[in-house]
């Protein structure tokens, strides 16, 4: 019974982190590449890759229990400075996702409120989550479980309502999917699973690495693939592929097609709960990464300041919240708006490929600590190479000029920060 509750708790954290309204926006970005049953093929391939990734994460995490996963694995595999760069890269990615979430939440609120009131409500929502997190982790975990269950249920209800409605308009026959279309869709589909791996930070018993955590993560991957597959199928029933690619809030458009006031309310509720859920987990997780780096004295000690009776990392949380709120209005810029799915996919594929490479390096070490998962390098190598190929493919797309510039800028800034932190000094240690 206790194990079942642990699996459920870890699933709620994993799925809660992965389900965001930006995922719906990224989901529709798959349709220019794949339609019909090919959508399920893309989700299936991404799900299989994610299955390998989460098993690698589980095995690596079992060697570093209690540590910040991405930081510990990459430090052991690639050394301190490169690890710091990857960790900061990951935090920036989380803040960008938070910014997009905030912007989409604003668009959602605009459906029912005037712009100033929508901004105000958005601020109140973000500040409420911040206050909950500042008051301690336990409350945020219970809140997370409740919100995740609500979001999954509401998305399924919305999809079922859409299936029950007769299809709107005429749908042209689905064109056969080309292999390059499938390869273009998989990195975007991978984004739908982002954040699942954060559940490893919530393992409290060593034996959980053996069965409980891998089972919870695999269940979470399958749940998300099924959820977005169902939702994608519902969208395809009512929209043609050309329309779908340009929808910012597809779940809201789906609710409009159903033309039921209840559906519209559900869609609004789904959006708001998904934002609260992902911001909640993202805030505590990203803040903990910054806190840990500050306690390691890799970044300024300001980030390690604790607050309140539950000793929340206040400054790190304030920094992440401020970053998210600053990035949100930037997401409205058309030049950025069109590059987002490409940009996020490139970030994600790069981070995951490096994690798999870290696993391959660490598995070769003679140290036998940790719990081995049923994985063989002959599975991990091809998965890593596949991720590298599709990641390069996303950035090499002719339309990816803006995404390339943003990535280069980001890498330059992180490189500059790391160079500054490791600058030679006259004081000897």
């Amino acid at each position: 019974m206790k194990n079942a509750f642990d699996v459920l708790r870890l699933c709620a954290i994993a799925v809660g982190m992965a389900i965001t309204i930006s995922c719906n926006t990224v989901l529709v970005s798959l349709f220019p590449f794949v339609q019909g049953s090919a959508l399920f093929a893309a989700l299936g391939i991404a799900g299989l890759c994610m299955g390998v990734i989460v098993l690698c994460f589980t095995e690596l995490a079992s060697r570093f229990p209690g540590a910040i996963g991405i930081r510990a694995f990459t430090k052991a595999a690639f050394g301190n400075r490169f690890s710091l760069s990857i960790t900061l890269f990951y935090v920036v990615m989380m803040m960008m996702i938070g910014g997009l979430e905030g912007y989409l939440c604003y668009l959602l609120l605009l459906q029912v409120l005037s712009p100033p009131i929508a901004v105000l409500v958005l601020l109140v929502l973000v500040l409420s989550i911040l206050m909950v997190n500042l008051s301690g982790y336990e409350l945020s975990l219970n809140l997370q479980i409740a919100i995740t269950v609500a979001v999954v249920t509401l998305m399924l209800v919305l999809a079922v309502m859409a299936f029950a409605e007769p299809a709107t308009g005429t749908h042209p026959a689905v064109a056969p999917t080309r292999i390059d279309g499938l390869l273009g869709a998989v990195p975007r589909a991978l984004f739908l699973f982002v954040g699942i791996e954060w559940a490893v930070m919530h393992v409290s018993r060593h034996d959980a690495f053996r069965r409980t955590l891998p089972i919870a993560l695999i269940i979470s991957v399958a749940t998300i693939a099924l959820l977005y597959g169902t939702f994608g199928a519902a969208l395809q029933k009512h929209f043609v592929a050309a329309e779908l690619g340009s929808l910012a809030l597809p779940h809201l458009e789906l609710a409009r097609v159903i033309a039921s006031p209840a559906a519209l309310w559900l869609a609004t509720l789904v959006g708001l709960l998904a934002v609260l859920s992902s911001f909640n987990v993202g805030l505590s997780g990203a803040a903990r990464i910054l806190y840990s780096l500050a306690r390691e004295r890799e970044i300024p000690a300001w980030f390690a300041q604790l607050h309140g009776p539950r000793l929340s990392p206040r400054n790190a949380m304030l920094f992440i919240s401020a970053g998210v709120m600053l990035m949100a209005p930037l997401m409205a810029a058309p030049v950025l708006n069109t590059s987002l799915s490409r940009l996020f996919s490139a970030h994600l594929v790069a981070v995951y490929a490096l994690i798999l490479l870290a696993w391959l390096k660490i598995r070769r070490q003679p140290d036998r600590r940790g719990v081995k998962q049923p994985l063989h390098p002959l599975i991990v190598w091809p998965t890593m190479l596949f991720l590298a190929v599709i990641g390069v493919g996303v950035i090499a797309e002719p339309e990816a000029k803006i995404a390339r510039l943003i990535l280069l800028g980001e890498l330059a800034v992180i490189g500059a920060i790391c160079t500054y932190l490791y600058r030679p000094t006259l004081i000897k240690a």
């Binding site: 209690g66 840990s292 004295r297």
Partner: protein, 115 residues
């Protein structure tokens, strides 16, 4: 190791700043030396470290904080010679338990030794 833990207990219980932040903290801490297969158990009751025993004593709390490492690392952590978070991220120390408990232990180290 027991001497180091007793000394740690005296410092924690006598420090008003630490007592202010851990005043409602009730937990058990189990320390495991993986090179000697020796365990130590500490009880914390309302922020005060009470009994310290050799051995992992089952006292009804099935979810204590469990810190595992070799004897030298564990001693260095509780003497304030090394930073627990760095040791954890370097794989020298395994920590199992609730996040807020881990943060409390880290805050104690920060106040006592400034590391």
């Amino acid at each position: 190791m027991l001497n180091i833990l007793e000394d740690f207990k005296l410092q924690v219980n006598a420090n008003p700043q630490i007592q202010r932040i851990v005043k409602s903290w009730d937990t058990d801490i189990v320390l495991e030396e993986n090179d000697t297969a020796t365990s130590y158990w500490m009880n914390i009751d309302r922020g005060q470290i009470g009994q310290i025993h050799l051995g992992d004593i089952a006292n009804g709390n099935d979810n204590p904080i469990r810190i595992v490492g070799d004897g030298a690392t564990l001693r260095a952590v509780f003497e304030g010679k090394i930073n627990g978070i760095r040791a954890n991220n370097d794989g020298l120390l395994e920590i199992y338990g609730q996040m807020n408990d881990q943060v409390k232990l880290d805050a104690i180290a920060l106040i006592l030794w400034g590391i």
